[in-house]
Amino acid sequence: MIEICNLYKQYDHQSLFKGLRLDVAKGSVVTLIGPSGSGKSTLLRCINGLETFQEGHISVNGQKLYGINEQNYDKAQTNQTLRNIRRKVGMVFQQFNLFPHMTVLHNITESPTHVLGTSQSEAESNAISLLKKVHLEGKAHSHPGQLSGGEQQRVAIARALAMKPEAMLFDEPTSSLDPEMIEEVLAVIKDLVSEGMTTIIATHEMGFARDVSTQVVFLEKGEIVEYGRPKDIFYNPKNDRTRAFLSRFTK
């Protein structure tokens, strides 16, 4: 469903991705692990166009995004493609990024009503059922500032789901949470993947990655060092760098 083909990306004059390839099949759950700065977040952000890249292409559900140096690159076309991709791919950020001037309910209904043209009543009843799903039905009329970090992140997940996405991207969803709140967020994500949502998650939660993933990708310096099933990566890593990285978590 998501194909990343020959991706080249550089920041200023420093290369990050040098021909990266990755296929994510429909219904699979891919976790990206690796040290900070390895390109996990950047890879997710390239997929829904929050970052540009120089070469290669990314195809989501048949919609193709080209690198800005590619011959096929066309700015107007890219903008249209991006909007199509973003409607089909939800994203959850490390910093939640809820809209502070809107209630929880309004955060969730904003995009369906304004982008998809869903009626207000339908959007609201859908939002309420999503809030139930993330166990926050009581907070519909609160403002984000009145919620804990874990609650905010669950609202952010509900907000992304309100667009009825076909895939979800999670960019370190628990990294800025207090430890006691991590579990409630991971539980919500677990529910979601068990329903068959195509998902890519960048995370430092190794236990979680091992339990929910269909594939694990170990990234280092913008390069896929190892790719495979979780039990192979976690219990039998082939590469020394993978082993060294994981050993820090199993200590």
Partner: protein, 508 residues
Amino acid sequence: MNYKLFIIRSVFLSLICFFTSYFPVTTSFANQNTLEKIKSSGVLIWGFDAEGGAPYVFHDLKHPPKLIGFEVELVEAIARELGVKVQSFQNAWDSILLSLQRGDFDIALNGIEITPDREQSVLFTRPYYVYAEQIVVRASDNRINQLADLRGKKVGTLYNTEAKRMLEEMGEVAVNIYSGQVEPFKDLSLNRIDAVFVDLPIASYYAMPNPQLRLVGKPAGEGYYGIAVRKEDTALAEELNKIIGKLLRTGELKKIYSQWGLWNASQENLFLHEGFLEKYTESPPSVSEKVSPSVTKFLPALLKGALVTIGISMLSMILAVSLGLALAIMRLYGNTWLQKISTAYIEIYRGTPLLIQLYILYYGLPNIGITLSAFAAAILGLGMNYAAYEAEIYRAGIQSIPKGQTEAALSLGMSRRLTLKRIILPQALRVAIPPMTNDFIALFKDSSLVSVIALVELTKSYSILASASMDFFKLGIITALLYFGMSYPLSLYARKLENKLKSHDRNL
């Protein structure tokens, strides 16, 4: 921006006057015999306002610092007779008598009409010129032939003059009041007004050489210009009366006036005032019989000015807010060209005085065929100037919203436009509310600047009334209170709004 200080300055000035009248120590200077002082120092200090202009006193265009005008020649003749030199003292015409009373100069001689009101506060010599009020119209306009025809027309005049008083007494005349002498004639040629009604010397000097304009009707409302001295300076007044008499008899006065095209049959009346000096020597005036006009009498005029102030401020703020927003968006999201245009606009408008911008809009644009009404020019001037400041406030507000907000909105499929409208601007606006309130209050007070383009708003109403009644103190306090009464509720409302918005994001 000098006018910004006008109210404060006037109040301060009146405070000084107020206290000097209660503490005799400070008035000792004024009690000194001015005539003796002039003779011993060999200098006659003469107060006038060169901005009042030709043909009275004005700067020689060929030799700019040099002053010329019939009054310059008159004062020089007087000084010669006194055996002293002239030292000029430039003073705003509105407050010339006030400065005379303070002791800034010895005589005020600058087309000051002798009126009962003024005689309450200063002593006048015998008249040195007989003036009359003259109607000037466009050469092509046949509608107005006499004073009565001015009814229902827009008529320009100078403020604090007999002509203005006469027009107001007639009623049904839309009076446009100017502080400079050039502007009414300019507006007349631009069709902004139907006629100008001013002292004959001014009319002759400005309208006669202009083929577009003509003088109509007989001069009306004859009156006299006199030299003003402080009330206690009877000896000086007496001496000046003798000198005026002598200049009349020797024909020197006629010679001076003729040179400026100002001698006419009416001036023969000056000889009738030979006995003028006895009037004062026989009955020395009592010092403080000044009638203080009741303040409530002025309140309607002040309130009318306040309404104009509110109207101008509101409309220009609406313009500033919307244009400012457009500029900020152009600067942040536009292509290179739009960014450059917006930046240039902001820098130019912030970097030049509002006063100059107003002059260009109102008096400059007609040169390229755009003639704005005073009200439109005021709103455009203030609005376009403040738009530059609002733009920068919005830009700061928009930039203070974390990038994650835009990213979250985009990732939800929103377009850039929708993101800006629904997510970024509502948040940026809250950040902008305190500085915007600040600006609105500043604009409110800056609206007093538009009096330069013949709009009578609150500050102008105040200075007109105050210089007519010589009561800068009480009227000043009332005017200041009116300003405060209008701006304070605004601050309160803004604070409330701010708190209301803030309560939503308590934990952020």
